[in-house]
């Protein structure tokens, strides 16, 4: 049998309940929030016995925590850097790249867990609910445990990064830029998590050019225009996913006063933004392949992507409501576009590697 407790932000128990450190036997799950993000914030928690919570097996919990589905975002660029440099004959320091890749896997896990904690503490996950299971919200583990886990992953990532920076000092510069950006972002988040414009820019840089440049210098191959062009292409596509997600949360975000590109534009213009964003992505794709890809892959991938994108663009333009089911359909269609693009990239660069090794089918 559960019970409820309502706490104000000024109450010393408030933080303890949010972090789950108020009791050893019970867990507090926020069920209602008032005046979110203000000094007047009040949360009603449902207090449940830890033993009453049905937890999934450890592996499912763990994969949910680290957001395994998002790993494509760092693994595909890693594959790209490996394949490109293998074809170019510039695999100078494979061990450093291996360590950097391991570091990025742990760092990504740490950041994803940390994001969940921040969403839980700021209340973002109570404003914008999602179809994904959120372990802290489900009561599978406390926010305090998650903080511990995220720090552990970040420390392991740092341990992997140190030898890379010693062997490839250029990496330190990239890491320095990334840390500076994250710190600036953190200041912005502290100031107000509701203003997400800087976060969008940061995501574009870090997930695109920042990530591939990091891999590239760890390999000792240096940054070139092709890598930067791919970084822009990749960052642009990651931002498309972010805009799609923000569009799904348009109503709740707007009501909570959250500012991002989608909420600024509103329902009708945001639909156009999503479509134009993907069309610009296709142009970037075309330009990248024009300069760096083979004619065959350029023609084939453009045709497939354009053909596949048309229904998605129509679906997005036909969304009727900011609360209806077609929002989720459109989001899934957008994700499928992204996955298709990933599939093409892997096949294409696998093809280049195969061609170099004279593989035959």
């Amino acid at each position: 049998m559960s019970s409820f407790i309502t706490l104000k932000k000024s109450d010393p128990e408030f933080k303890k309940h949010l972090y789950g450190s108020f009791s050893g036997d019970n867990i507090a799950i926020p069920v209602a929030t008032l005046n979110l993000g203000s000094v007047e914030e009040t949360i009603t928690f449902e207090i449940k016995k830890k033993s009453d919570i049905k937890k999934p097996i450890f592996l499912i919990l763990f994969f949910n925590m680290i957001k395994i589905k998002k790993y494509l975002l760092i693994l595909v660029p890693l594959f790209y850097v490996l394949a490109k440099n293998y074809v170019d004959g510039s695999m100078y320091d494979i061990w450093s790249l291996f360590l950097a890749a391991c570091g990025s896997l742990f760092l990504f896990a740490g950041i994803n867990i940390r994001n969940d904690v921040i969403d839980h503490i700021t209340g973002y996950d109570r404003v914008n609910t999602s179809e994904e299971l959120k372990p802290i919200q489900e009561g599978w583990l406390t926010a305090a445990d998650a903080v511990f886990m995220s720090w552990a992953f970040i420390i392991i990532a740092t341990l992997f990064a140190i030898p890379v920076m010693i062997k490839q000092p250029e990496t330190a510069q990239v890491v320095g830029v990334i840390i500076a950006s994250v710190l600036i972002g953190k200041i912005f988040v502290r100031k107000s998590y509701k203003n997400q414009h800087f976060g969008e820019l940061l995501l574009f840089i870090l997930s695109g050019a920042g990530l591939v440049s990091g891999y590239q210098v760890a390999l000792g191959a240096g940054i070139d225009t092709e890598v930067l062009a791919f970084g822009i292409l990749w960052g642009w596509s990651v931002l498309f996913l972010l805009h799609l997600n923000n569009f799904r949360n348009l109503l709740t975000s707007s009501q909570a006063g959250i500012k991002n590109t989608v909420t600024r534009l509103g329902f009708d213009r945001a639909k156009k933004l999503l479509n134009y964003w993907w069309i610009v992505f296709l142009l970037f794709w075309f330009a990248y392949h024009h300069f760096y890809g083979s004619v065959f892959w350029s023609a084939l991938s453009n045709l497939i992507l354009i053909f596949w994108s048309i229904p998605t663009l129509i679906k997005i333009s036909q969304i009727q409501s900011p609360v209806g089911s077609d929002l989720i359909d459109a989001k899934l269609a957008g994700y499928r576009n992204f996955l298709l693009m990933n599939g093409i990239l892997i096949l294409e660069f696998g093809w280049y590697v195969g061609t170099k090794n004279s593989w035959t089918l």
Partner: protein, 317 residues
């Protein structure tokens, strides 16, 4: 209480059809929302004239929303009578709704409590947003309960929040803790009322004999409907939305109607279970309110509301 007239200037006799239209509209309502206002206003010992103003304000807003709603939904009947837009014209129905909202502002501003005017304006704004959003999901048979809750939070619950908070505001009591409590309670009551009303559509606790599957036939999947189809595949949803009787609904679960009905009843129990949790949350807020207000009369009156609104029991039970 006559909900129609607060001030002699409310509805000028020289405007054609206006008073006939309002006579039809105001004559059939149960006045539930104004009773809710009185439940809170009585223990506060608000002057009778102030209570009248608040009761009429909420009835004006509610009736304005009905005038607009019927037109948006193209419903031909309201409270067993021909709907205003159908009987008069759509233009008159829109103007009559607007006029009611304008009278609310005139009467409330004369009362001179600017916070109450602001709160009322916000409530009307929420209500309209809810109606707008509801219209945007008509024909969407994949909409989730959570998405519908967002609409009901604006459309239905806004008026319940107003009913609980406005009497305190009229008394110049702006204690933020009290208002937070009442706000939460109003939200829960609104949600429970809406869900219970949606259950009537599927003949659950339908003692008042409401027409069955009305929402579904108008292309609107209500909260209970969205709960029922949650795990359905596309073909089952197709079958569900073509249902014209409860037997058709039962057949969505099993070709054997009796077995289908048993499964349907289990779904009702599961839905009730979700809402029992909401009722427990309401009781928690009620206890908190008790500690702040120390008004046993108010506590008693508010305590039975979940029974009346969700379980459709008579207050004396």
């Amino acid at each position: 209480m006559n909900f129609k007239i607060f001030s002699p200037q409310d509805f000028p006799a020289y405007l054609p059809k206006l008073n006939l239209l309002y006579d039809d509209l105001f004559s059939g309502g149960k006045g539930f929302r104004s009773k809710l206002v009185q439940i809170v206003a009585d223990p506060l010992a608000l002057p009778l004239e102030t209570q009248n103003l608040l009761c009429q304000t909420i009835e004006f807003i509610h009736n304005a929303s009905l005038l607009h709603d019927d037109l948006v939904d193209r419903s031909q009947l309201r409270r067993g009578k021909e709907a205003a837009w159908h009987k008069y014209t759509p233009e008159y129905a829109v103007l009559a709704g607007d006029y009611l909202l304008a009278r609310v502002m005139v009467n409330l501003s004369q009362f001179g409590n600017i916070q109450l005017v602001q709160f009322t304006s916000e409530t009307i704004s929420d209500l309209l947003e809810g109606e707008w959003l509801q219209d945007s999901v008509v024909g969407d048979f994949f909409v989730s309960l959570e998405q519908l809750d967002r609409i009901h939070h604006l459309k239905t619950a806004s008026l319940f929040r107003w009913c609980l908070r406005a009497p305190l505001m009229a008394q110049n009591n702006f204690d933020s803790e009290l208002h937070k409590n009442l706000n939460e309670m109003g939200t829960i009551l609104g949600q429970l009322f809406q869900r219970s009303d949606d259950l009537l559509d599927y003949n659950i606790r339908n003692d008042e004999g409401k027409a069955l599957l009305g929402d579904l036939k108008s292309g609107y999947l209500n909260s209970f409907g969205s709960f029922l189809v949650k795990d359905f595949d596309r073909s089952s949803i197709d079958q569900f939305i073509k249902s014209t009787s409860m037997d058709d609904i039962f057949k969505c679960y099993s070709v054997d109607v009796v077995q289908g009905q048993n499964i349907f009843n289990q779904k009702v129990e599961q839905f009730d279970e979700i809402n029992t949790k909401l009722i427990n949350l309401y009781k928690h807020h009620l206890n908190e309110l008790d500690q702040k207000m120390k008004s046993p009369e108010l506590l008693k009156s508010l305590g039975v509301l979940t029974d009346v609104l969700y379980w459709r029991r008579k207050p004396s039970h």
